[in-house]
């Protein structure tokens, strides 16, 4: 243990920018590093990413390791795992924090096994134990029916954190930091699983993860067509449309619109649940919403136990009337 020191975060880049999850991971890493009285390092991996190092410093990093290589243009498991393994062995951090993103979910378990340590995925809380100085890793288990806190005896201690559970720092342009370039040292033959094609599903309007209002439909919507009614309301409220698992499995909505434990975990200000029963798997994905409004024809639907406002009735009649009246009442 004596040789492990400092906190390292993974500085994920999405579409050439540092998304909100990356700023949250940096904010969380900064707090952990301060509690330990140690340094916060972060790693930028990709192609043409060096320009973002300064931004990472303004968001809390003391040191930014940059691994910039054309071979790292797209995420590929083998390449990124090799890079992160190499960095973890050079830097020897006590703690590594990632976001619970598509990349985090794929990369972190592989990295942890390579480093012969363990990782806790999808944490909603990370803290330093005041006595042992170990990382307390808190995550929901049993589909959100319980919350467990773990520690790990091996180093580095690795965790991923859920969207919107950690506070980002306000960018401070006066912060000073160091940028260190590291060679990727990739052996192309080590990339076994190769990315052939990326198919981007254009999300209309706001991204689910960043929306402050989300209108979500369940099995009760009955088909792709019904979702246009949800879209009308979302457009009015400048929000995003999501679905529970059945609409996504049935192809009424693309899979990247799924809210729930295997889809996206969201914490909007207002969550409007239409024609969905509220399974625990779904609620683990939206239970952190500040307010929940539910429309369902079944008065016994589980969602009403979690909602702030509810209407029992046929959504096909309730929803358009709700949208129309809101249009009237909302300021221009």
């Amino acid at each position: 243990m004596a040789d492990y020191k400092g906190v390292l975060t993974y500085c994920e880049v999405i579409d050439g920018k540092l998304p909100s999850i990356t700023t949250e991971v940096l904010g969380c890493g900064r707090k952990l590093a301060d509690d330990l009285g140690q340094e916060l390092c972060t790693v930028l991996v990709g192609s043409d990413v060096a320009g973002m190092a300064q931004e990472a410093i303004t968001l809390g990093a003391d040191k930014v390791y940059v691994v910039d290589d054309p071979q790292l243009k797209d995420y590929q498991t083998d390449a990124y795992t090799a890079v992160m393994e190499n960095i973890a062995k050079q830097v020897m951090p006590e703690i590594i924090v990632f976001g619970q993103t598509s990349v985090g979910r794929d990369l972190v378990p592989m990295l942890a096994f390579r480093l012969e340590t363990m990782a806790t995925l999808d944490c909603v809380g990370l803290a330093i134990d005041s006595e042992t100085k170990k990382l307390l890793q808190t995550k929901p288990v049993y589909g959100g029916n319980a919350q467990a806190t773990y520690t790990c005896d091996t180093y580095p201690q690795i965790a991923t954190v859920r969207d919107k559970t950690m506070a980002a720092l306000d960018p401070d342009s006066s912060r000073q930091g160091e940028v260190i370039t590291i060679d990727a040292g990739l052996d192309p033959s080590a990339i076994r699983a190769k990315l052939v094609k990326r198919i981007k599903e254009e999300e209309e309007g706001v991204r689910l993860e960043e929306a402050s209002v989300i209108v979500t439909g369940g099995r009760g919507i009955g088909g792709a067509e019904g979702f246009t009614k949800l879209q009308d309301l979302a457009a009015l409220l400048k929000g995003a449309v999501g679905g529970s698992r059945p609409p996504c499995d049935n192809g009424w909505l693309p899979p990247n619109r799924q809210v729930g434990i295997t889809g996206k975990i969201v914490s909007p200000d207002v969550y409007i649940a239409v024609g969905l029963s509220g399974s625990i798997q779904h609620l683990s994905g939206c239970g952190q919403a500040k307010k929940i409004i539910a429309i369902n024809k079944d008065p016994e639907a589980n969602i009403f136990k979690y909602a702030d406002f509810g209407v029992v009735g046929d959504w096909k009649k309730v929803l358009p009337a709700f949208t129309d009246k809101l249009k009237e009442l909302l300021p221009e």
Partner: protein, 263 residues
């Protein structure tokens, strides 16, 4: 073509949505009485993916499951839908294993089997939602790994996988042998016929203990469970909006949410 499918038995996640309590002192989750064990739904997706390959081009499908006191009838369902072999890794030491232990125990069995072209797992278990076993197996065996697959085709010794990512899909090509984890979009497991269910009860299953596999679980690392609590609940008192017609209820709801300044 030899396909291995790793399957876990979990308390029925559909049944567990209410009535589950937490004993913080004992650090245990107490499931409602009578919660039946089922095959982990994501592992069922993995088995379905294997069976589709078997249908299309022929394959031997072997199911491996590790645990303590497993319900054989539940696991035999895998045979009823078309798996050829079932290997149970059963030992008191295999109770409540974490991802790290599970991956090591499964690898011991996989090494004993020796011949495999493809190892399939579900993307995560419905109880712990850890999602690490597939990657762990790949890492220990030094195999390529593709997670969250929604489509899978095998040809020319390669797996063509489409995987679900947050902003769309990725098509990935991996040489065999490889480990692939299945997402629900790959398809629900087929239903077994009554005749097949009956026949599956008579199929001989292989049983292996920790000592047969030469694994000592107590020597494997374990995260420490510091505390287990009830989730910080939403203390909501749902205001139900009622009216003569659903249209009026919808309009009244709009008035209510405006009044309370939610929207």
């Amino acid at each position: 073509m030899n396909i291995l499918v790793c399957m876990k038995q979990v308390p029925d996640p559909q049944a567990s949505s209410s009535g589950t309590t937490v004993d913080s002192e004992a650090k245990k989750v107490i499931m409602p009485q009578g919660t039946p064990p089922v095959l982990n739904p994501y592992d069922e997706n993995a088995l379905e993916a294997a069976l589709k390959i078997k249908d299309a081009q022929g394959a031997k499908v072997t199911v491996i499951s590790a645990g303590k006191n497993m319900a054989k009838t539940v696991l035999r369902k895998s045979i009823a839908v078309g798996a050829d072999d079932l290997i149970l890794l059963e030992d008191a030491a295999f109770e409540n294993m974490n991802s790290y232990e599970t991956a090591h125990v499964l690898v011991a069995a996989i090494k004993e089997i020796g011949e495999y072209d493809l190892i399939l797992c579900g993307r995560q278990a419905a109880d712990t939602d850890a999602g690490q076993v597939g990657s762990g197996i790949a890492s220990i065996l030094n195999l390529p790994c593709v997670t969250a697959a929604c489509k899978l085709d095998i040809s020319d010794g390669k797996a063509m996988v489409q995987r679900v990512v947050s902003d769309g899909f990725e098509d990935v090509e991996a040489p065999l042998p490889a480990v692939i984890t299945a997402s629900s979009e790959i398809g629900e497991m087929r239903y077994p016929g009554v005749k097949e269910i009956m026949a599956a009860q008579k199929v001989r299953i292989t049983s292996r203990k920790a000592s047969d596999l030469g694994v000592d679980v107590s020597q494997l690392k374990k995260p420490n469970l510091v505390s287990l609590d009830s989730p910080p609940g939403r203390t909501t008192d749902c205001q139900m909006v009622e009216a003569e017609t659903p249209e009026e209820a919808g309009a009244d709801l709009a008035v209510k949410v405006r009044e309370s300044q939610i929207l």
